[in-house]
Symmetry: C2
Subunit: 427 residues, 2 copies
């Protein structure tokens, strides 16, 4: 069936607003590693999707899902080895203070649960997030997703702090100055809550500032801000839905790169390589307090044997194929290449990266740093036409977002860089 | 590994409060059709789980998941046949006024989304639910789950109506009198909202009153109540998470049995036979209005090719194996058997059923109808020891909840009934 006919049928069942990538939507039929194939047999290098974390259709994950689905799939109201073994393996990846895990199915559910735990355990309602955050699509989480919500929707229980962007801030913002600036913003939010009679439940932050397009923000910026939140009675929730599971190369979790032990950590997208699997890891006493008060808290599909088999297979592949180290090494290789492109192309204002997570900021003028939003849109679509999939992000939607599956090699990097060089050269 | 060692390890990762069935938890290792097997090789008749809707590990569903997982699993931001075909097949099961579907992963997410649509499209916040409802575990949904929330947690935007229980109401409550009583309760809730200055967004109701233990409530009770809600500016959300997909035998959806076309329908548990799959089906203009206002609404895993393959395989099996008709026929057979048990056992106060959904209310005295809560607990555990899995529910937790997978046969029914007869006889 042609794409237009399929699109018309899609509109008839999903409506016209269900989001699609690219001006010319991509009709995919097959995936393999870092490759995607469309209905006409064209091949695309996937330099965007972090859900197929260890590669599209990794045979080990597929086998784990298929075998367990054929054996047993029930809820955690029965005893089963998988949820216990997976829980043990997952917790071994965290600071020992984080001793409990609760499983659910999506990043939205993980952030919902973390907000419930934070609010019920602190007795406070106030949540601080950044001014361009996205944490999911459920009502309470949308309020803390300033990327999509209006101040009216956020109400009096959510306050945002500005995104402090080292590229756009006045010249010499040292790491120390950045840390001070963030701490001051947090203090301002706390003071504003207090003036409103609202207690602070916590700070909810993506560990890679993904929606802000700041994956390489200096590690030190967070510690002092978190200290202020805790002194005000709140907790720190690290959202690892985008950055977790080794993507940053140097560390398995983004919060480890930032040198802070969170009170709660949420995870999702890459966790089951596409199988709907998510979770909250938290300080033992915090999770136990919430669970004691809510003994009927239950997630029907969360932590089921199939989901946990998928999760364990992802950990197996990450370990056996050395994918975190690959993210570090290939990440550096790509970053070098992007810096070369910045030197060659007037439109590339800034290049940032951490492991296999990159932001390429396009500007109309390198001095004025005017956001080149329409150029970014054109580049994303032109890359797609030339067989490389990326997207864009940021306050001005002018930042190329590059976040490939973890088995991305230097050969794949060369194709990405050469295609981007071509597209930028043709502007 | 012994159950006690596994339980200790489970406590260490999930904490002690993660809910488990039965005084002596069941360590399961395998499932097949209506059968579950524990680590010691014991076999159990599953007369409780509605998630493995077409039977545990149905080979057709397993194959669909395995094949699609090996081929492609991406999000709905790309065009794919599966989400379109599944959407078409699903919508064909509804009144034509319900023309759009939005996919997500869990019943909680479906009810979250339905509440968001209802509230954003009506411009009102007030939600009416029953006094013993459960709709999920996210913050907004917990507020409408009076089974778990306190009046303080529900706040001023959620009001409950009493569960009108024909068994416990004074003698001759005709269907007409019941309909009038429900309509009057709805009106009371609407008036109370209005006195508070809160507009009515909608009525959220499980189509089988599952948590109330009233699967056979007379069909006519709902129409007048819904009319009042609509006149007040609200919508009707039918929660089909427990009852949907043919369970009631006479109809594919619970709301069809009740003769009302909802504005929004939520579905989950049985939809993917255990694969995390859920959705909202709604009136075309309502969903389109919400989607136009929230064009970035997106669910990463919702409607992906694997989930939709699982969903289509469930529909295939339901159709090819005639499972809705089986639910009707075997449901009547079980109901007859339960009525015989009621005649023989003083403790069985009432027996109710609709298709393969049964409620057996245990009482200390048939005249006084005193809830036999502890007896119900004992019966559930004793049934488990004798190899038949059921649970309990209801305002007083004294109602045996029997809700087997759909391929339940008369032979399985005979085992269920004989075992229950034995257990009740041994009280």
């Amino acid at each position: 069936m042609g794409n237009e006919a399929l699109l018309a049928r899609r509109f008839a069942v999903l409506g016209k607003h269900s989001p699609l990538f690219y001006d010319e939507p991509l009709h995919l039929v097959r995936g393999d590693g870092v490759w995607l194939f469309d209905a006409d047999g064209n091949r695309y290098l996937d330099a965007y999707n972090n859900v197929p974390h260890v590669g599209h259709c990794h045979p080990r994950v597929v086998r784990a899902i298929a075998e367990q689905a054929a054996t047993l799939n029930t809820s955690t109201r029965y005893l089963h080895e998988n949820v216990v073994r997976y829980g043990e393996r997952l917790l071994a990846r965290f600071d020992p203070a984080l001793g409990r895990v609760m499983f659910c199915c999506t990043g939205s559910e993980a952030n919902e649960l973390a907000l419930r735990i934070a609010r019920e355990c602190t007795g406070n309602m106030g949540v601080i997030c950044t001014a361009h955050s996205y944490h999911g699509n459920t009502a309470a989480v949308v309020q803390a997703s300033s990327f999509l919500s209006t101040p009216e929707q956020r109400g009096r229980h959510v306050r945002t702090i500005p995104v402090i962007d080292p590229y756009r801030e006045a010249g010499d913002l040292s790491e120390e100055a950045l840390a001070q600036a963030y701490a001051a913003e947090i203090q301002r939010a706390i003071d504003a809550f207090e003036a409103d009679g609202v207690g602070v439940a916590g700070l909810l932050l993506c560990s890679g500032l993904s929606c802000e397009g700041l994956p390489d923000i200096p590690a030190g910026y967070l510690a002092r801000a978190v200290e202020k939140v805790r002194r005000a009675g709140g907790v720190f929730i690290a959202d690892e839905v985008q950055g977790g599971f080794g993507r940053f190369g140097s560390h398995f979790w983004g919060h480890q790169r930032l040198g802070v032990v969170p009170d709660l950590v949420t995870m999702g997208k890459p966790m089951g390589n596409g199988h709907p699997l998510a979770g909250v890891v938290g300080r033992t006493e915090l999770v136990d307090l919430f669970a004691a008060r809510n003994p009927m808290y239950f997630n029907t599909f969360g932590g089921n044997p199939v989901s946990c088999a998928a999760g364990m297979a992802v950990l197996d592949v990450l370990e056996e194929e050395g994918l975190q180290e690959n993210a570090r090494a290939v990440g550096n290789y790509v970053l070098d290449g992007l810096r070369t492109l910045r030197a060659c192309h007037e439109v590339v204002g800034d290049v940032r990266g951490s492991g296999l997570f990159f932001a390429v900021e396009l500007v109309g003028d390198k001095q004025a740093k005017t956001p080149a939003t329409e150029v970014a849109r054109h580049v994303v679509n032109e890359m797609r036409r030339r067989g490389v999939l990326i997207s864009r992000i940021g306050v001005h939607d002018n930042i190329l977002k590059i976040r490939p599956p973890m088995p991305f090699s230097t050969a794949h990097a060369d194709q990405l860089l050469a295609t981007l060089d071509d597209v930028l050269g043709g502007l």
